[in-house]
Symmetry: C2
Subunit: 502 residues, 2 copies
Amino acid sequence: MRRELEEARKTVFETLDEVQRYYHAGSVLNFDMETICPREGMENQGETIAFLENQAFRLLKNPAFIEGGEFLYEHRDELEELDRVLAEDLHRSYMQTKNITPEMDHEFSLIFQKAYVDWLKAKEASDFSLFAPSLQAVREVQEKQIALREDALLHPYDTLLDDYERGMNRAVLDDVFGRCKEKMVPLLARIRASKKEIRRDFLSRPVTDEAQRKLADKLLTVLGYDFSRGALSTTEHPFSDGIARNDVRVTTHFYPDAFASSMYSVIHECGHALFEMLQPAENYEHHINHLKSMGMHESVSRFYENILGRSEAFVHLIDPLLRECFPEVMADVSERELYEALNIVEPSLIRTEADEFTYTLHIIIRYEMEKVIMEGKVKTEELPALWNGKYQEYLGIVPPSDKEGILQDVHWSSGFGYFPAYALGNFYNAMYYTRMKQELDVDALLREGNFAVINGWMAEHVFAKADRLTPGEWIRDITGRDFTPDDFLEYLERKYTGLYEC
Amino acid sequence: MRRELEEARKTVFETLDEVQRYYHAGSVLNFDMETICPREGMENQGETIAFLENQAFRLLKNPAFIEGGEFLYEHRDELEELDRVLAEDLHRSYMQTKNITPEMDHEFSLIFQKAYVDWLKAKEASDFSLFAPSLQAVREVQEKQIALREDALLHPYDTLLDDYERGMNRAVLDDVFGRCKEKMVPLLARIRASKKEIRRDFLSRPVTDEAQRKLADKLLTVLGYDFSRGALSTTEHPFSDGIARNDVRVTTHFYPDAFASSMYSVIHECGHALFEMLQPAENYEHHINHLKSMGMHESVSRFYENILGRSEAFVHLIDPLLRECFPEVMADVSERELYEALNIVEPSLIRTEADEFTYTLHIIIRYEMEKVIMEGKVKTEELPALWNGKYQEYLGIVPPSDKEGILQDVHWSSGFGYFPAYALGNFYNAMYYTRMKQELDVDALLREGNFAVINGWMAEHVFAKADRLTPGEWIRDITGRDFTPDDFLEYLERKYTGLYEC
């Protein structure tokens, strides 16, 4: 048995090593598409990415590989932990792709690639109708993919939610988001009614790209980002990209009249990057660096961005860096004024620019949109009106154009089901923040810029087992408690009633 | 017969379409390595590039493909022109790779990838000994590759020269470069002895990266570079990269105290890019965009950079652009002073920064170095001293470090034989400049910035048949004359005795 397991393992790993090469190449081409590839070259580059993905897919369909993977899965109780995790992942993805041929997979990829290009064009023209056919095509492809699966859940949207967050479904989200609305809507009304005056004039003072880049470099350094294993680029839509074990990049944008936007993009993406950079090396070697939860990842980025990044202690730490990078902007601003300005609560149109409080409402809108789209309850051409209506209802504002409304996010060009992860991330990180504070004097560490200790705690408690456990197991492992939005809602109430004296 | 040819053609094109996908992916990964990939990620990325190249190599070794290609070659007289050119190219590359297995090819690729990384490290440390083992390994790989070829010439270095420039060998180069030295060395002495005073103080005035980038964008626009099919990046060593039919990128560097350096890098790389952008579209569709001559390519880049780019008429055209981008630098400088400063002749250490006159001497040194390396006439550890001795002898200056000496160029990390192309490019472009002036009023066109006509002439006469003819046939097709360095030497003499009044 031992010898047969060894042989199966060898076959599986040889294939995965090759598959990894295709994924790596595809990642670099994707990063290039987002950062520099000229417009006229994109279609061809999209086809090459689809080609590479298809080559990987073909390898994964190889009967010897599948046989080896299934053999490991049958004998998973005899395997070491990481091999067992891998065997379970392989079995799961086998169940997902068993009935999909390489030709079908290639055809699907091309639809997603086209959807991305159409989304870009539609956003540029601020015209949803240019994206509508592709959106419809994406929905149909996802339904087709799910219909072909062996492990599909009762409803396609539940299947997608479960893909991004193992164990998640509409029932749980309806409950959790319902509780959020119940608590947050009255709280937002109190905040909006507050007489507290927060100064904000300096937030729109002009800052050059160079000064913002200088600050970005300093922030990344303070946070413990390892530049020998990463790089900072600029893109319209900031993201982080774990291209390889030693290549974890981040991007940001620079708006001349909104320096805080880039600052918090950088901190957010740095959170994602730290998660990747501080993964146990053996995860990569065992090919188990494919998360069972996007919410875990977003919990980390939003932890650095908001819970740490918008705290008084962190603002105290970075206040001198801002003064160094743009002295004129900061000349008449106190540290307290900076802290307050970076925590203003104000309904706005663009999710990625939203404040910490209203952000979750942007996510709830997207969740509700995805639900009706996947449930087929609304015609595609009616979606912009539905979107705008929800913005009116939850946030009291209406997007003046599709570009600032339904076309603002790239996500739907590659499918539905991702958005809830951002909100789940908030719930998770508030829970482990509760725990962290029991063990560390977080504020003191932030004030002295001691991210070695903070990142060390994160690596040990939050990152180390993320690839081995389901989200439910993982948050219980960190905190000893079951998943709940309560910590987040209490955190919001404490912080913002304090700030707004309401 | 017709049906069999059609079938062979179909098999060949299907394979080449796939091969092109691997090449495309490899090109993007290479570009990424040069522009943004973090240091610690490079080794892995180099391995992925080698993996992709190896996949392409395996496709090209497929018996059905080879059979198809050879069948086309046997019946090449029955084919249309482009199919015939392709059949000849395929046969040639079959002869080159017939005895090389995919495993051997993969092993070779890894050596070149490692050599690149070692070169980077050695250059950073300015220590040739860190690169020496890889240089030796590169030489051995090339000898091994050549020994395995069916079409090797008598000496390995002649084979390499012929690879980069069909029909070129040591005998021709010894003769041509000998004539250059004979003419140029006394002429350089006259120039150096001239009493002519050329103002240069403003060339080192500080210019920000942003101002230089603004100028670069304006220059590219003036020259007819199509930004919808390209992009400008920054790298230490500028280059152009024809990644795909509609993706032809250029890079430059910005030195704060040497704005002219970036200017001429941009013009040079734009020349390469125009060559790619203005190739007949059917060349790409027929997979014959693999040049038989690097000298043709360099002739174009150096034509735009020097013959056009350093002419009085072109300086007249761009003088207002410089004043717009950095008014303070240009405030007390006349157009004539600008022209003269951009044409100063002065021996210097770095090839890529050399003036138009001394540049060819840098190339002759590299040719002579490559020759003794490939002829095994000198020990690797003695190469820096030999290099420095030649700089002393030809240019009267000695590099103070390996970084400014033998380690300055990336080329040898991927093999020997390329350098002569730069000098051959000068000889070719002086010849077609002679011809162009018979048909066009080049100076008038430059003064009015009419690059539509200039680029149109280049597309018709210089670019259109570049992929179909050998260099000898090509230059005769353009000019009606056989290859000669005379036009170049006369051009240099006329221009620089005039400028230096000697």
